[in-house]
């Protein structure tokens, strides 16, 4: 019996050694599952790595805890992985562990969220969204759309529903929102408040605004969830969402597409979670020993609305109904 066990153990060990030799180990430290966006992000990267021949994915879900993530990174080092993909749950406190990764000369690819210590560490590539540009596109879309329907000169009251105070997306998008407004002097911000990125709080906030502000023409919601919540509040106040109040969301989740096609929401600015192809491309280059640029690469993102054709300078909007079937998240 003991011999049999030893034999089995030896076989297992041999197999694992063999596989370790054959496979190129790609480790991915993800922050956890906080939203649909994050789930789509994880699925995209996991599928891309797992589907690639000769690569083995080592995945760790940190459950929103930095200490779990630091532990995971150290585990990756001991396991001798070939490359590490990293999305940090917070922006600070990574210097030490990322320097350890550097010391072991394991290439590091930063995904989605950039740590504050980016300048002090070595990394092979970085992919992340451009929150400021997303914010700019939101207000620019509203401005251009109003021009297109002949309301370019009219005094327009805008409310900005912000995300969780202090979150990267909230800070960036607010900056972009306000910067985007400068080109449209007829647009005036009458209220700015946090809806915490959730449907319920977006709804409660809109409900209150509808009572405290006499005239609201445009709602800029820094994510689609808050916009979707606000739609119900607008209906409850006897107004028509999408007509009486123009609604611009952000993220481009499937539910927002449904709302746009139903005519209850006007536009959504994309913030793509589908980083899989970028990551595969970067890791392939690494494996082949090619040189890579160290600049932060933003994925290409679209703008989707009811009718399409609104020109925002950097991008032209696409009719949501035309692409709704292709949406993966």
């Amino acid at each position: 019996m003991k011999k049999l066990l030893a034999l089995a153990l030896a076989v297992v060990m041999l197999m694992s050694v063999a596989s370790a030799l054959a496979e190129y180990k790609v480790a991915f430290s993800q922050i956890g599952q906080e939203s649909d966006w994050r789930t789509a992000n994880t699925d995209s990267i996991k599928a891309a790595i797992e589907g690639h021949e000769g690569w083995e994915l080592i995945y760790d879900d940190a459950q929103q805890k930095q200490e779990n993530q630091i532990k995971a990174l150290r585990n990756f080092i001991t396991q001798g992985v070939d490359v590490i993909l990293f999305t940090g749950v917070v922006s600070t406190g990574w210097e030490e562990v990322l320097k350890e990764v550097n010391d072991e000369e394991i290439p590091l690819i930063l995904v989605d969220r950039m740590p504050d210590c980016m300048d002090q560490i070595e990394y092979a590539a970085a992919f992340g969204g451009d929150f400021v540009e997303e914010g700019r596109r939101q207000t620019a879309w509203a401005g251009e759309y109003l021009k297109s329907i002949g309301r370019g000169e009219e005094e327009i009251n805008v409310v900005i529903m912000e995300g969780t105070t202090g979150a990267d997306a909230q800070v960036g998008r607010t900056k972009g929102n306000l910067a985007g407004l400068e080109a449209y002097p007829n647009l005036k911000v009458v209220a700015q408040q946090s809806g915490n990125f959730t449907r319920a709080e977006g709804q409660a906030l809109m409900e209150s605004w509808l009572k405290s502000i006499d005239k609201i023409d445009v709602l800029i919601a820094q994510n689609d969830d808050m916009a979707l919540g606000a739609i119900d509040a607008i209906k409850a106040a006897g107004k028509v969402p999408g007509k009486d109040i123009i609604i611009v969301g952000c993220d481009s989740v499937k539910a927002a597409f449904d709302a746009i096609v139903a005519g209850e929401m006007n536009a959504t600015i994309e913030c793509t979670p589908l980083y899989g192809p970028f990551v595969v491309n970067a890791v392939e280059k690494l494996q082949a020993g090619e040189a890579m640029s160290k600049t932060l690469v933003h994925p290409e993102e679209g703008v989707y609305d009811m009718d399409g054709g609104i020109d925002l300078g950097t991008v032209v909007s696409v009719k949501a109904a035309d692409v709704i079937d292709e949406r993966q998240y």
Partner: protein, 357 residues
């Protein structure tokens, strides 16, 4: 001779101070924005429309949970799992409404499983989870804060697993009625809350149950020795709190017509505990006040609406809430109440003494 009303009794009661606090907050509102109080009729929804309605409406989720939390705290315990149970309840409801989003691709006015299951199963599961809390506390003798921490941590995980980490949306109109419907010109959550508050109040005050809860909360051993089945009381109270969290979760998810396992009921345990404490029930257990809790919950919501209505900057919101709550809690503290009680008594003696000559 007509008996004079003793104001010191009123000043010593914590409920009085909750009323004073709410009145003060509303008074400030009245001066800053008188239109805060305007109420009109909204024909499209057949409901009364106004800020005060919103405040009571939006406080429903917390008020309902806080009814159970009041009894839990009166027992000398706490229940940290209520927020997670809200998420579980919504997740199960949406699971039955949508089942598999890959098959039933677009949200619409349909339910995959009979509506009765959508209503009953979430409440049943939440009650069972409450019973689980009760079991750990009554039978295994684990401290409530630790026992309920288990479901607080893994409840959201269960909700995530049930929905495969996805957010389902529905348009099923009977489900919408729970959170967005109306009855007697009032939003449905207010009606549901009124029924829950009345039912709990009748149950604890018209039977001996309330007295038993207070007895167990003051001294479990003494209560047991005087013939009260303390374990049974604990079981019932935690199961009831689970059940009420389930109702709260249904309202929450019906309002947004979707489950939101990450955010549904987030920090509700803290708000519910706060509502109970503002309402004058002591964390050490014993005497409790359901009316005070309802007021506490309304005060919390008034502050939130005030922040929205007055357009206070989002960065300052947290600090603003903290200051108001701190003032309310200090107003209710023992020394402050005693000071006012003494003061009013002294004045009264002086006045009545003077009158008699």
């Amino acid at each position: 001779m007509k008996k004079k009303f003793d104001f010191s009794v009123l000043a010593r009661s914590k409920v009085t101070w909750a009323v004073v606090a709410e009145a003060l907050i509303l008074l400030v509102c009245l001066f800053v924005r008188p239109d805060f109080f305007s109420i009109s009729y909204q024909p499209t929804t057949e409901m009364l429309y106004g800020n005060l309605i919103d405040i009571v409406n939006r406080s429903s989720e917390i008020t309902i949970i806080a009814m159970g939390m009041t009894l839990v705290i009166a027992l000398g315990g706490t229940d940290l799992s209520v927020g997670a149970l809200v998420a579980v309840s919504g997740a199960i409801a949406l699971k039955f409404l949508r089942w598999d989003v890959t098959i039933y691709n677009t949200p619409g006015d349909y339910t995959v499983y009979p509506f009765i299951l959508v209503l009953v199963v979430p409440l049943a599961v939440c009650t069972l989870m409450g019973l689980f809390n009760g079991f750990l506390i009554a039978k295994a003798d684990i401290q409530p804060i630790i026992a309920t921490l288990i479901l607080m941590v893994c409840g959201r995980g269960i909700a995530q697993i049930l929905t495969n980490g996805k957010q389902f949306t529905t348009q099923y109109s009977p489900f919408r009625v729970i959170g967005q419907g109306s009855f007697l010109f009032l939003p449905m959550p207010i009606i549901i809350t009124a029924i829950v508050v009345a039912a709990v109040a009748l149950f604890v005050r018209k039977t001996a149950f309330g007295t038993f809860v207070e007895a167990v909360g003051i001294n479990r051993k003494a209560a047991r020795l005087s013939g009260i089945n303390a374990q049974l009381i604990i079981f019932i109270v935690y199961a009831l709190t689970g059940f009420l969290s389930g109702i709260s979760g249904m309202i929450y998810s019906s309002r947004i017509m979707s489950n939101d396992s990450n955010n549904a009921g987030l920090n509700f345990e803290m708000d519910a505990i706060l509502a109970v404490v503002i309402g004058g029930t002591s964390m050490t257990g014993g005497k409790f006040s359901l009316l005070g809790t309802v007021l506490g919950s309304i005060i919390i919501r008034t502050i939130v609406n005030l922040v929205y209505y007055f357009g206070i900057a989002s960065e300052a919101t947290m600090a603003f809430k903290a200051v108001i709550i701190a003032v309310v809690i200090v107003l209710q503290s023992e020394p402050v109440r005693n000071y006012f009680a003494k003061h009013s008594k002294a004045r009264q003696n002086l006045v009545s003494g003077g009158a008699r000559g």
